[in-house]
């Protein structure tokens, strides 16, 4: 056997010495550790028969990780969480919108116009305040239900079972089974999911997990999905079924994301990142009754308020930018007009409109502000409400208000569906992109992570628009 040339004298000596030792000394050391552990445990641990609790947990696991029953249970649990979120968020959403948009906004606007120059009043109230108010009323209620529900499942110990079930699928597409865990983190925040990929040892599989993490809908995109599904798809069903239809639509988009993530992993592991899936051991921890109150508290403080704060921080400058591009003129029209009308032909081709694309550009720092940006731009550009001459703006409250605003601007169910797809498949937010760069140290893979989902999104939306228009 030929040995690689070892230049370091110290390492060379260690290697030479290794050849003088018994060949299996490595295994013997490992065995010694195991034997010692067994000996000590033998002397200090006593077990009293088989416990009923363990037997019960094993029975539960047999159902939850069974190939036939595991997947339906998984889907059902996820769908229930979504339905709870959609059904429960409607009322508080309308209440918050009523206070922030109907009550406070006209007062603020009147006060600002009375004391400040018109441009400053517009920038502050029509721009920054309005964007922030929309972020809060659109995002806060669904987050307050979705996050705690998700965290409860996590604390119960359900996530490792999900990873266990999905392992088979990930292995088939040449990815690491722990990608299920990084995706689960991605459902909270893609930047966190990308960092979580550190649990994957193999660099090849880590890259796959990082590049495809964006297909897990994040915090910032759930509210978009839920709102659009409710007002465009749920509304087409009878009132009693609104929640179920909307939840089904969001579920379908999330499922599509999961499918795309598998597909992209498969393609990558057969082209740029060729290789076999590596094995690993996954511990299924015991089910632990979650501490409900503490879970509610931490998921509200740590996640909901954290995400909301981030959204507000990004909404304030974005609101200013939106107001500026909608009010600064270049030639005969505003900047926003030029941008929107320039992008409109292409946008319409893929089932969207220019306003949505402009909103996505403005919202690159944070997905959270996509819907508020869309709403603001629609208001400011179509002059439905507000505008420089209006004394006050009347908003209808809640989902119905948003719906009439958007249908008034020419939106159809097709726009809603395409927006949901595009929200799933577009570039990750700038925070996530920066995290990808930091984790991979590769400009190339950062670009791939941004372009791959965007291209897929454009193609999917174009196909849907084509089929929809042909059939309609």
């Amino acid at each position: 056997m030929r040995l690689p040339v070892e230049t370091d004298p110290l390492l060379r000596e260690a290697r030479d010495l290794r050849w003088q030792l018994p060949r299996n000394f490595n295994d013997r050391l490992t065995e010694a550790i195991y034997a010692e552990s067994a000996r000590i445990a033998e002397r200090t641990v006593t077990r009293q028969g088989t416990s009923r609790r363990l037997a019960f947990q094993r029975r539960v696991d047999r159902v939850l990780t069974n190939p036939w029953t595991g997947f339906p249970v998984m889907g059902l649990l996820f769908a229930i969480v979504l339905w709870l979120t959609i059904a429960g968020a409607n009322v508080p959403s309308a209440m918050i919108a009523d206070v922030l948009l109907d009550k406070i906004y006209p007062v603020l606007r009147a006060a600002a116009l009375g004391t400040l120059p018109a441009w400053l009043a517009g920038l502050l109230v029509d721009g920054m305040y309005l964007a922030t108010a929309w972020v809060i009323s659109v995002m806060l209620p669904p987050m307050m239900i979705f996050f705690p529900a998700f965290t409860l499942l996590e604390d119960l110990g359900y996530l490792p079972r999900v990873a266990f079930n999905l392992d088979r699928l990930f292995q088939k597409v040449g990815a690491h089974g722990k990608q299920a865990l990084t995706m689960a983190m991605g459902y909270g925040c893609n930047a966190a999911g990308v960092i979580a990929a550190r649990v994957i040892d193999s660099p090849r599989e880590r890259l796959i997990a990082i590049v495809t993490n964006n297909f897990a809908l994040c915090n910032g995109r759930w509210p978009t999905q839920i709102l659009i599904a409710t007002i465009f798809l749920g509304a087409m069903a009878p009132a009693s079924l609104t929640g179920v239809v909307a939840a089904g639509a969001v579920f379908a988009v999330a499922l599509l994301g999961f499918g795309l993530s598998l597909l992209c992993s498969w393609v990558l592991s057969r082209t740029l990142l060729r290789g076999e899936a590596s094995t690993f051991s996954l511990e299924l921890p015991p089910y632990r009754p979650p501490n409900v109150l503490r879970t509610l508290y931490t998921s509200l403080i740590d996640r909901t308020l954290f995400v909301l704060w981030r959204a507000v921080v990004f909404a304030l400058p974005a609101g200013a930018v939106i107001w500026l591009v909608s009010n600064l003129h270049a030639g005969d029209h505003t900047l926003a007009y030029w941008a929107v009308s320039g992008m409109n032909p292409f946008a319409v081709l893929i089932g969207l409109n220019g306003i949505i694309l402009l909103a996505y550009i403005i919202a690159i720092p944070a997905n959270e502000i996509v819907v508020p940006s869309v709403l603001m731009l629609t208001v400011l550009l179509t002059g439905q409400a507000g505008g420089e001459h209006a004394a006050g703006v009347m908003f209808e409250t809640g989902d119905e208000g948003v719906r009439s605003l958007l249908t008034g601007a020419g939106w159809t169910a097709l726009t809603g569906v395409c927006l949901m797809i595009f929200s799933l498949c577009h570039n990750p937010c700038s925070t996530t992109l920066y995290t990808i760069y930091k984790e991979t140290r590769s400009f190339k893979w950062t670009v791939v992570s941004a372009l791959m989902p965007t291209v897929i999104g454009v193609v999917l939306c174009a196909l849907i628009a084509l089929v929809w228009r042909t059939l309609a």
Binding site: L11, V45, S51, P160, L181, I195, S281, T298
Partner: protein, 280 residues
């Protein structure tokens, strides 16, 4: 030591008692550094949160803590900096999360390493504990999840375990706070040097290994004076650990131990320097 002395001794014992003062993220100047190690999903982050008052996210799945988290608390008049390490099954492989844990225990020179183990599966958890005891003397075993163990009909002779391992063993249920006062007392005793554990060392019963180790250790000491854990590193080299080999050939081993030592001296002031001397 609460696991080794009669209850009657408590009244006269000099070991500080009572609750710890949580310092959260305020770890500016610490007297002692505590490392929190253990298998995945044994409740390290729960112990960490309990002691520091922080809300490091805990989750019921292995691999939750990826990077290390730091926090602080004060106890017995001393300030402790506590580092929550990613969960690992072993110190012998080189995955990113295991490397974080391994390098901190090796080069972070913690004043005490708390090994958190799941009382329900002690045997498997002991593998890591024994490996940690190869590296450091200053360790305390936190026998966590005792509530589940009781519910599962598992009984553990904590005193016997303490005798076997040669380090303090404290049965705990971190979620409810059970056992944490004793854990704090033991951590304080070991960190301050009031109690010097003499941990069980694995016998390296392989013919010729002792001699081979001696030669590599001598080489290592010559190249990296003041290197801690030279024997463990030598063993890894003999076993052909390429990650450790790279640290030797590129010289990062020297700068790593120097870096951590100077960081610690800067962070802990004179106490840190003194405690380093004891171990040197």
């Amino acid at each position: 030591m609460s696991s080794a002395c009669p209850p009657s001794a408590c009244d006269t014992c000099a070991v500080p008692r009572g609750p710890a003062q949580r310092l959260g993220l305020d770890v500016g100047k610490a007297d002692y550094v505590v490392a929190l190690a253990g298998n995945p999903n044994t409740g390290k982050s729960t112990v960490f949160n309990r002691l520091t008052g922080l809300r490091q996210h805990t989750g019921n799945w292995p691999g939750k803590t990826i990077a290390r988290a730091e926090g602080g608390f004060a106890y017995g008049g001393k300030r402790f900096k506590i580092v929550d390490l990613p969960g690992t099954y072993s110190l012998r492989s080189a995955s990113p999360d295991e490397t974080v844990a391994r390098e901190f225990i090796l080069f972070g020179k913690p004043d005490v390493t708390v090994v958190v183990v799941d009382a329900n599966c002690l045997e498997r958890n002991l593998n890591l504990a024994l490996q940690i005891l190869q590296i450091t003397d200053r360790a305390v075993l936190c026998l966590n999840l005792m509530d589940e163990a009781r519910a599962n009909g598992v009984e553990i002779d904590a005193r016997g375990l303490s005798r076997e391992l040669g380090i303090p063993v404290v049965p705990c249920t971190a979620r409810s706070g059970e056992g944490l006062p004793q854990l704090l007392a033991e951590m304080h005793a070991v960190a301050s040097g009031a109690f010097k554990p003499s941990p069980y060392r694995l016998k390296l019963a392989v013919p010729g290994l002792r001699e081979a180790l001696g030669r590599v250790v001598a080489r290592l000491r010559a190249r990296f004076p003041g290197l801690a854990n030279a024997e463990w590193i030598a063993l890894r080299l003999l076993e052909g650990d390429s990650a450790v080999g790279e640290m030797v050939s590129t010289g990062t081993l020297g700068s790593l131990s120097a870096d951590h030592a100077s960081q610690e001296a800067a962070a802990t002031g004179t106490t840190g320097a003194a405690s380093k001397e004891i171990r040197a």
